[in-house]
Amino acid sequence: MTTPLFRKILVANRGEIACRVMRTLAEMDIASVAIHHRVEARARHVQMADEAVEITGETPVAAHLDIEQIVAAARACGADAIHPGYGFLSENARFAEAVAAAGITFIGPDAATISLMGDKISARNFAEVNGVAVAPSVMPTDDLDVFVARAKSIGFPLLIKAAAGGGGKGMSIVRSAGDLAEAARIAASEAQRYFGDGRVYAETYVERPRHIEVQVLGDGEGGAIHLFERECSVQRRFQKIIEEAPAARLEPGLREAICQSAVRLASAAKYRNAGTVEYILGADGRFFFLEMNTRLQVEHPVTEMITGLDLVRAQIELAAGKGLSLAQSDVRANGHAIECRICAEDPDRDFLPETGQVQYLGVPEEAWLRFESALDQAQKVTADFDPMLAKLVIHGKDRQEAVDRSIGALDDLALLGIKTNIDYLARVLDHGAFRAGELHTGFVSEHGGALASPEIPAAMLPQVLAAAALGFHEFQELALGTPQPYAAIGGWRN
């Protein structure tokens, strides 16, 4: 038995990703420390951890963003590394710096790399000078009028984005010169509000773009490999809901070119950690650099499913300076994997977030299925955190089998008590265009009508009503013939 790379790792996150990281820590014989706000003291990640530290803040989210407090917690419990998960502080250069300054290993790249890739403009410039294709664009200026004038010169349609942005905030598509000034103004004000940075930029908008991203691993010395690509084109509100690996219908030559481009970027940045280079791919086969995420991705399990690798383990080994444990030629893809993001939301009402309580959770179990969540029976889902409840990840020998298995697993999944997108996801997977791999980021709106909740089939209606009626205790007693005078049933007579 070799000595563990770290003794104790604090997981600076919550929810499914904290649980996911802790699973690997347990396998590696590394003690885990959870952090939690008062409202989540009994959360799954707290129960899974070897130790737990309460953090305070005006809101739960504020507590999870409190750099000083989290670093102090790590020191106090003697953690020798911090894993940031995704979201929260995972791409915060100041956090990486504070962790390092405290003599603790940050499981991620160094602060300078986070800063470089965290700013869309510096990342773009870096990509461009290193031979990675970027879309024609207009950089921001302090003067919105100058910006608008320059943006007009590269032609329409244009995509306006926040320099410091992400997650679709401060982003809009502009199709004519008349709409540009107003769109830029709104984007700048949204960017200011969400990111504290009102700079926006504009770039050529690729019609019907596909979102293709490449998983890379870098050793921090310029050595880098890729673990193939993922396709994340099915999105709503600019956020992914279905991801798969490998991408559907991607020519081998194009796949190789995209993957090599990502390796070139990671290598040039002397990137250390697992990371993701995102691209948009046009129908003409041209692809442009979008951004690099310097952390574990929500959808990393699809890559793990096809490669058989554990990306959290790889992150920990790289952070410990062990370098890359495998060469590019050792990386093999096997079959096809699909991830569905289960969210508390109402697809029939523009995906508006929902709140409630999990009354019943029934998860199918199969060797080819991963259900990543921090959900428990009776769990309350509040507006405090992101509406993503769980991820259902499925492997199949090919895309068709993965799609069929995913639909079957979604059908079998019972998460009752909160409105979710489970049925909607199954309809997307079963749609002819999805099965044919005709994907682009506007898929959800293009097929909106066909994806809406269908009428209840006539044969199903009595089944539903019988199951519902018999669920009412009083009605079931009547149905079973409990000897009781009906007069006593009162309101149950109709």
Partner: protein, 167 residues
Amino acid sequence: MGISLSLDDKVHHVTILRRHPHLVLVIDGEEHEITRLPGSGDGRGIMSIGGHEVAFARTTLGDRQIVRLGGRTFDVSLVDPFSKGGAAGGAQNVLKAPMPGSVIAVHRQPGDKVVRGEPLITIESMKLQTALPAPRDGVVSTVLRTEGETFEKEEVIATLEPETEDA
């Protein structure tokens, strides 16, 4: 003896016709023989109805049953036996918050005419902005929450003047 259930705004009637030798329910006027009864309580169950084995999952939420069957989730609610069972006439007069959140912008003021679907108020919930549309053509009566104010789910945040002509 029976009950009325509401599903997708339609009211259905389920009554017990007989119990022997099998339970027979009359659902919306048609007889359905139940040869295998599901157990009680929350969770997964199997029932045989009209000769078909049907697997489902179910949970009780007060006067509602959430039923997952055939890969779909249904929200079935018990209709108050004393009510008429149709959609409440006043429902179209109020704008309710679909989520807890805060008001970002109020687009129409009391006295303003609005057409159905036109944004009345923009709210923000879980960092997402959503425009709440007017539920029908009409005139804004009151706006109960203004910019920056917060509200809970299902809270009424604006109302329309009652319709003058009979619907």
